[in-house]
């Protein structure tokens, strides 16, 4: 009968649990004895898994951190100010025409697996990435040709003048590992080889859980003081913060804003609001591409200024961003703050509902039918703007509620639709919106972000969307863009960029709401030597070149400590196990007794 097999199953389970209970004490002490001292582990909590360890396939921030640690570059960037400093190359020279650079690599370079790192690895990476258009390389290498002159020297030639050279910050890959995968579709390579030239290399990746990187003994600056770095994933920020507070992890990236603010009072934890120029903007449809059906009122500069005046950016920054980041009303074009201009006071578009109403009244946008919503001059179409909300940001609901409330107060109504990033990209490309709120994160060089707002980047074919999501452009801006792109005098270039940003601000197709910050926190009792990049304002983790990790030193012998919290839960587990065992044994005995009764 089935009843009997049940009893046996339970008994077997109980026996297993019993054996488990007996052995726990032994194993607990054993692991306790071997853990401290032997390996120095830095554990970093985050909420975004790697997308791929393969640098030709991944594109998420988390993966960049992996590559920053695993692959060294020819030229490096200073932690303080992004100044170009020697990396794998110890020196370089430029030709007279500025089109050819010759780099000399350090002596005795080795990959983490012991193979020599030569000029051939460099040349192969640059040429192959150009030919195969690797997504994270080709923006830099598209116009380059590299030749290994000898074992230590590589010559790089650009086909067009490039102000970014001699910076060569692409990840150099080990040819002996990647040559095979590159023969087929390189993006399908799993890249779990863990061979690199940076301070740490990938040891193990448990998707959805964590990945572990170990110190590279062959790193050209020497072996790091930390033995391994564990990147631990959390699906929810609060859980990550709890783990940081009880010492399960040493540092955390992307802490929820509320919890970040709460943690600022603790003396065992340092909070870092790291800025890299990323910003959040409210964009109005500039309708330059001739696609879609943007609201005609938005073509009027005064209406755009009225919208800007209606929005209380101070309050948004305080209540939505919880004052984390910087209040700034201009484009962030670089992680480096020197590119940020100050807008003259008389051109600023600050919160001023009265001014907004005045601008709209003067322009003839009146509410003639008394329903609280203005109409186009002379009656007709109402000022009802379609507001596209982005679902993939925790702040967008708060921004929407405030912004639509303020717009209503100056007689502008809104219709809200919510889109994920893919849908929103489509809606913007098709021009079927009036307002959206999204953001950008720039590179170190301002050129890419500035290029997005040129006429070349305005989408004119729905099928092939381009980057200009302001859907606005002007000849004046484009002329300045070309000029800065060829200006080799740094101070002059900075000035040109300031002019461009000011011009873009005054056009108000973008109302920059604030500059965001990465919210990070680390414990003070484990490691010292945390580096912000750039100095003073940048993040300590997930920065442009991630210099922190190599710089960290453990404090004293402190490690472990998680076992205290575990004991209660473990105790309950053991008691539960015990109850199951006793109960099952009792059940089994009773069954066999009643069985015996039946037989009699």
């Amino acid at each position: 009968m089935k009843g009997r097999s049940w009893g046996i199953a339970i008994a077997v389970a109980a026996l297993g649990a019993l054996i488990g209970t007996v052995q726990v004490t032994g194993s607990a002490t054993a692991s306790g004895a071997e853990a401290p001292g032997s390996t120095v582990t830095l554990t970093v909590g985050l909420q975004q898994d790697l997308d791929s360890p393969n640098v030709t396939a991944g594109y998420l921030v988390s993966s960049y951190e992996l590559w920053n640690l695993q692959y060294a570059t020819l030229t490096d960037k200073a932690a303080d100010d992004f100044a170009t400093i020697p990396g794998l190359a110890e020196e370089w020279t430029a030709s007279e025409d500025g089109l050819t650079y010759t780099y000399t690599r350090r002596d005795g370079l080795k990959w983490s697996d012991g193979e020599p790192l030569t000029a051939e690895d460099v040349a192969w990476t640059i040429n192959t990435s150009r030919d195969q258009e690797w997504i994270n390389h080709s923006a830099t290498t598209a116009n380059l040709t590299a030749t290994a002159l000898d074992d230590r020297t590589v010559e790089i030639t650009t086909s067009v003048p490039d102000p970014k050279l001699p910076i060569m910050d692409v990840y150099i890959l080990p040819k002996h590992i990647w040559e095979g995968p590159a023969a087929g579709d390189i993006t399908t390579y799993e890249a779990l080889d863990g061979v690199g030239s940076g301070p740490f290399t990938l040891q193990e990746w448990k998707p959805g859980q964590e990945w572990t990187m170990v110190a590279n003994p062959n790193y050209w600056k020497g072996r790091p003081a930390i033995d391994q770095v564990v990147f631990r994933l959390y699906t929810e920020g609060g859980a990550m913060v709890a783990a940081l507070e009880n010492g399960e992890i040493d540092a955390a990236h992307d802490v929820p804003a509320d919890l970040f603010v709460e943690m600022q009072g603790r003396d065992d934890i340092v909070t870092i609001a790291g800025e890299q120029g990323g910003f959040t903007e409210l964009a109005m449809n500039g309708m330059q591409g001739g696609l879609g059906d943007g609201h005609p009122a938005l073509l009027d500069l005064n209406v755009r200024h009225a919208v800007a005046h209606a929005i209380n950016r101070d309050e948004l920054f305080e209540r939505v961003a919880l004052s984390i980041g910087t209040q700034r009303d201009t484009l962030g074009v670089s992680a480096n703050t020197e590119w940020n201009p100050e807008i003259p006071e008389d051109q600023q578009l600050n919160y001023d509902p009265a001014a907004a109403n005045q601008l709209l009244d003067d322009g003839g946008y009146l509410d003639t039918d008394g329903d609280g919503v203005r109409e186009m001059p002379g009656g007709g179409q109402k000022l009802i703007f379609r507001y596209a909300e982005r679902s993939e940001s925790s702040q967008s609901a708060g921004i929407r509620e405030l912004v639509t409330g303020w717009l209503a107060e100056v007689g502008i109504s809104t219709e809200v639709s919510v889109y994920d990033d893919t849908q929103l990209t489509d809606v913007i490309a098709a021009g079927e919106y009036d307002i959206f709120v999204w953001g950008w994160t720039p590179f170190v060089d301002p050129d890419p972000l500035l290029s997005y707002f040129t006429c070349d980047q305005v989408t004119t074919d729905v099928e092939s969307p381009l980057y200009n999501d302001a859907n606005w452009c002007s000849d004046e801006y484009d002329a300045l863009y070309v000029e800065q792109n060829q200006e080799l005098d740094h101070a002059r270039r900075v000035d040109l960029v300031h002019q461009m940003i000011t011009l873009f601000h005054n056009e108000a197709t973008y109302v920059v709401l604030y500059h965001d910050a990465d919210t990070q926190a680390y414990r003070t009792d484990r490691f010292e030597g945390w580096l912000r990049q750039p100095a003073g304002v940048g993040p300590v983790l997930f920065s442009n070149t991630s210099p922190t990790y190599f710089n960290l030193r453990p404090i004293g012998a402190g490690s472990g400590g998680e076992d205290d919290d575990m004991s209660t839960g473990m105790l309950i587990l053991l008691i539960a196990g015990g109850v199951v065992v006793v109960g099952a044994i009792g059940y089994f005995i009773m069954r066999s007794r009643s069985r015996r009764d039946e037989k009699e």
């Binding site: 609060g238 859980a239 909300e389 679902s391 708060g398 509620e401």
Partner: protein, 268 residues
């Protein structure tokens, strides 16, 4: 009948909320001076959230959305179920086979994952949620109605009506529908709590309409703002308790109704 009282109480509260409270009171532009993440006290019966919005007010307004979705989705479920069940049961033959094959497909494929993928590819709105629930939960009511129609059809007076030359539509309207109505009513009452629970789960997964506040949406916001791990219990306990009470009340009432209306159940 405590369940019925509770139900009526919730419905009345949902209906009168716009008269006794002001939606603008928890619009973020008006809550700038309120304390944020504030535990319950005399001023805020259920505390406030990160924007200083009263949780109690959100709970009251959320009842409207949750109940609306619950009722609307149920209506849709029952309409589809009745149409298919009636057609299959009345016509029989190959129509019945085809319809029941489709019904079986929908019965077997898992309900919640189907609702999730449907909601994920469609636009975020209350109507999407209503539609998704309707599309995924009609099969059991269709089966129920069909079997009932089959048994009614076999009864004598339908035969007599047919003998008298009554049209098919007439038979359905006059004889079959009145006979299956009690059953429809009972199964509708039991479908409402399932719809409410489904709405809750979908909204919690971020598939709800973010511009409307529902109980599931509140739980999602609580989760997104780490209310659980930071001890802001007043943000996630009340919506859960409200859902539990409404679902419990509907279920108890529905079962009671079923026993009264379905003679087969009463016999036991």
């Amino acid at each position: 009948m405590a369940s019925l009282v509770l139900l009526i109480g919730f419905v009345i509260l949902a209906i009168i909320t716009p008269w006794i409270t002001d939606r603008a009171d928890f619009n973020a532009i008006n809550t700038g001076d309120n304390p944020t993440n504030h535990p319950p006290d005399g001023d805020y019966l259920l505390g406030t959230d990160r924007y200083g919005r009263s949780v109690a007010l959100q709970l009251m307004w959320g009842a409207r959305v949750s109940l609306f979705v619950g009722f609307a989705a149920t209506v849709l479920t029952i309409v589809i179920g009745v149409l298919i069940g009636l057609t299959a049961g009345f016509f029989g033959g190959w129509i019945d086979s085809v319809l029941m094959r489709i019904t079986d497909w929908f019965l077997v494929i898992p309900f919640l994952p189907t609702a999730i993928v449907l909601a994920a590819v469609l636009e975020r709105s209350l109507w999407t949620i209503v539609m998704v629930i309707g599309i995924t939960s009609w099969p059991s009511s269709a089966r129920l109605i069909r079997s009932q129609v089959l048994s009614v059809r076999e009864r004598l007076y339908v035969d007599r009506a047919r003998a008298l030359g009554a049209g098919r539509l007439h038979i359905v309207g006059r004889h079959i529908l009145p006979n299956v109505t009690p059953l429809i009513l009972a199964s509708a009452t039991l479908a409402v709590p399932i719809s409410i629970l489904t709405e809750t789960t979908l909204s919690f997964l971020g598939l709800g309409d973010p511009t409307e506040i529902s109980w599931g949406g509140m739980l999602d916001q609580a989760q997104q703002s780490s209310a659980v791990t930071s001890g802001h219990w007043w943000y996630y306990l009340p919506p859960g308790v409200a859902i539990m009470l409404v679902v419990l009340a509907f279920t108890i009432f529905g079962r009671a109704l079923e026993e009264v209306l379905d003679p087969r159940l009463r016999k036991r």
